[in-house]
């Protein structure tokens, strides 16, 4: 059984169902075990099962034979508001 993705988590790997040929190369190439595609079934789409574990490497996008995949960054990466000083440790 394939995992179900949680719609409340940002999905970085957007797959166009019109272009996707259900080939499972994205599942195959993903180094993080994020994308699950049911093998030998040309009806089902790949599932981005663990979107918050994506490295944003884009191997899926670069490998996809029909350019069906686009990597989309979340707002917290694009318009980041973190104060960098909070990353530099506490002196106690």
């Amino acid at each position: 059984m394939l995992p179900v993705s949680d719609p409340s988590v940002h999905n970085p790997i957007q797959i166009d169902p019109e272009l996707c040929i259900r080939c499972n190369l994205c599942d195959w190439i993903c180094p993080g075990d994020i994308i699950y595609k049911e093998e030998n079934n040309k009806q089902t789409m790949p599932v981005v099962a663990y979107p918050d574990e994506c490295w944003y490497c884009g191997l899926c996008e670069s490998t996809c034979p029909t350019d069906a995949i686009t990597v989309v960054f979340p707002e917290r990466m694009l318009r980041n508001q973190t104060d960098v000083v909070t990353l530099l440790g506490k002196v106690v």
Partner: protein, 585 residues
């Protein structure tokens, strides 16, 4: 055979199918031996630490000039490593570089520039000669991986090793599980090579996303943790590595941009880098990161990268090569709506990795001898998890040395492989599987989140005795929680194992950092309570091993001696005659 387990008997078991692992497999395959490769990914076509191709390769070639000889590079090593390097192992690696380069060329990798028909060699990263070959390495790993497959190695994909099998300080295999099928595998081997990379996901960064990391977030110190539990010695684990990244995306590549002539500016619009180093933006990575840290602490942040002054052709080249380091980096800038042609790019400090601290030939990980063997007999290590490493080339060369070392070890070994202790194997499996659907358990994400906050606050770029002790308390308390970790599926069971490994590595790091009462290699190990290097007392390795209580225990070892002098492979109870499975010497 055992019901419910898949059992495999082989000669060499390789854990991690990156460059080091593939290169370790090759000598064994060439010797006609059986090889099993255990790999968390699904393909051998990509590099472990960068996930994609390669664009430079460090090597001595003995092409004529004095700088291109092993002896010349070796003379500079103490200075390049701030005096902490195992010269015996580094010497073997550097002397083997020309041979391994030719061997990789024999696999079909073309290191030459097609425009000139010659090697394009460059001097970079503070090295004393033009040791880096710049080349199109898109197919580098694919060709090496193909060689491994052609040698008929058995490759176990989406498979995570959980426990090494060790008897009388001798490794004879591992227990692993496939996190797609749930199948458990007991692999008995005559030798084991650990090549599973560096340690990531251990501290926070600007985006706060655990898997948004400069280095590969799926490298979680599995080899270091498994080997530590099995009694192996580790070293240099106190040294961390950070870089500068575009704020919000921990991508590689900022240093490449800097090498083309970009400037750093603080919030006042000042070019501050010359205040920290006379080379300005051309200083070593550790210096650049340090300067930016300092400017932020002085209240001069945000810090920006400025490329606007660069000539048009440089900017074109920059745009073309941006994706070499990270394929998605152009998309990040596009979606962010900024262009380095016209805008300042805000920068941040990345999260930390335990990975040779930006220093060539001083690796952080398993202490190895000149054959790549660790302090556990028959257990070899190479790549970013070993005590001598150096990017792709370091992984390739020490990987091959370890593979050859393993062949010699296997040939010198007589007797049958020990039987698997099934009661023990079943216990390890049951403990691992118990996380599945554990009611009221601690989610691995929360567990890791506590580790990252703790490391960022007290084990990061500003360390003190008090902070390190606080961190060790928290990390030890988390150890107790390991038995309460919860996962909702097989994939989560794999992540639970990774979380345990990350925790153990950070405890080892904090223990070693507490022992080293000095500052060395700037932010790689900065003790605010010991802010200067202490060459009088600390030209030493911190060696970490499992103590009698199971916790990390440290020894300071003179860095002028080979690390292997400090570990005895046989435990005291062992004698030649009593070993059921001994080296036949």
């Amino acid at each position: 055979m055992r019901a419910d387990w898949r059992t495999i008997d082989t000669d060499l078991l390789v854990i991690g199918g990156g460059v080091a692992g593939s290169m370790a497999a090759i000598p064994a395959l060439e010797a006609g031996l059986d090889v099993v490769v255990c790999e968390k990914g699904r393909v051998l076509d990509n590099c472990g630490s960068v996930g994609c191709g390669v664009d430079h390769y460090l090597t001595v070639m003995e092409s004529g000039p004095e700088w291109d000889t092993p002896e010349f590079l070796l003379r500079h090593l103490p200075q390049l490593t701030d005096g902490i390097v195992d010269m015996a192992v580094a010497s073997r690696v550097i002397h083997e570089m020309p041979r391994i380069l030719r061997k990789i060329e024999g696999m079909g990798v073309d290191f030459k520039d097609p425009r000139t028909g010659d090697y394009s060699r460059h001097r970079s990263f503070g090295l004393p000669g033009a040791y880096h070959i710049n080349f199109d390495g898109t197919d580098f790993k694919r060709k090496i991986g193909k060689h491994v497959r052609a040698g008929k190695a058995t490759v176990l994909m989406r498979t995570m090793a959980v426990q090494l099998l060790v008897e009388e300080n001798r490794a004879y295999g591992a227990l692993a599980f496939n996190f797609r099928t749930g199948e458990w595998i007991a692999i008995r081997a005559k030798a084991v090579a650990l090549t599973a990379g560096d340690v990531n996901r251990l501290s926070e960064n600007a985006s706060g996303l655990a898997f948004d990391s400069w280095h590969f977030p799926y490298n979680t110190g599995d080899a270091q943790a498994m080997a530590f539990r099995a009694g192996a010695a580790l070293t240099n684990m106190e040294f961390t590595e950070a870089t500068l990244t575009p704020k919000g995306f921990s991508a590689q590549g900022l240093n490449a941009v800097v090498s083309m002539g970009a400037y750093f500016l603080n919030k006042h619009g000042e070019r501050f880098m010359f205040r920290y180093d006379e080379k300005g933006e051309n200083a070593r990575r550790a210096v650049l990161a340090d300067a930016v840290i300092n400017e932020y602490l002085l209240g001069n942040g945000p810090i920006y990268l400025d490329c606007r002054h660069l000539p048009e052709e440089e900017l074109d080249h920059m745009e073309e090569t941006l994706q070499v380091d990270r394929y998605t980096l152009p998309a990040f800038y596009r979606q962010k709506g900024v262009s380095f042609r016209t805008d300042l790019i805000e920068v941040s400090i990345s999260e930390l990795s335990i990975r040779r601290s930006g220093v060539y030939f001083r690796g952080s990980g398993l202490a190895v001898d000149t054959t790549g063997e660790t302090s556990v007999e028959g257990l070899f290590a190479a790549g970013d998890c070993a005590s001598v490493s150096g990017g792709i080339a370091g992984a390739a060369v020490l990987g091959h040395i370890a593979g050859e070392g393993a062949v010699v070890r296997m040939r010198a070994t007589y007797g049958a492989r020990p039987d698997i202790d099934w009661a023990d194997a079943e216990r390890i499996r049951a403990e691992a599987e118990a996380a599945l659907g554990r009611a009221g358990g601690m989610p691995w994400k929360a567990f890791e989140g506590t580790i990252r906050r703790t490391v960022s606050d007290y084990v990061g770029v500003r360390r003190s005795e008090r902070g390190l002790r606080l961190a060790l308390e928290t990390l030890a308390a988390l150890a107790v929680k390991e038995g309460e970790l919860a996962a909702s599926d097989l994939h989560g069971l794999m992540r639970v194992q990774e979380s345990r490994n990350i925790r153990l590595n950070t405890e080892i790091m904090a223990t070693a950092a507490l022992a080293r009462t000095e500052t060395r290699t700037r932010s790689a190990h900065r003790r605010v309570d010991h802010p200067e290097p202490d060459n009088e007392n600390w030209r030493k390795f911190v060696l970490v091993e499992k103590g009698p209580d199971g916790r990390p225990s440290v020894r300071a070892i003179d860095a002028g001696r080979p690390l292997a002098d400090s570990f005895a492979r046989r435990s005291q109870s062992q004698t030649e005659g009593s070993l059921p499975y001994a080296a036949g010497l």
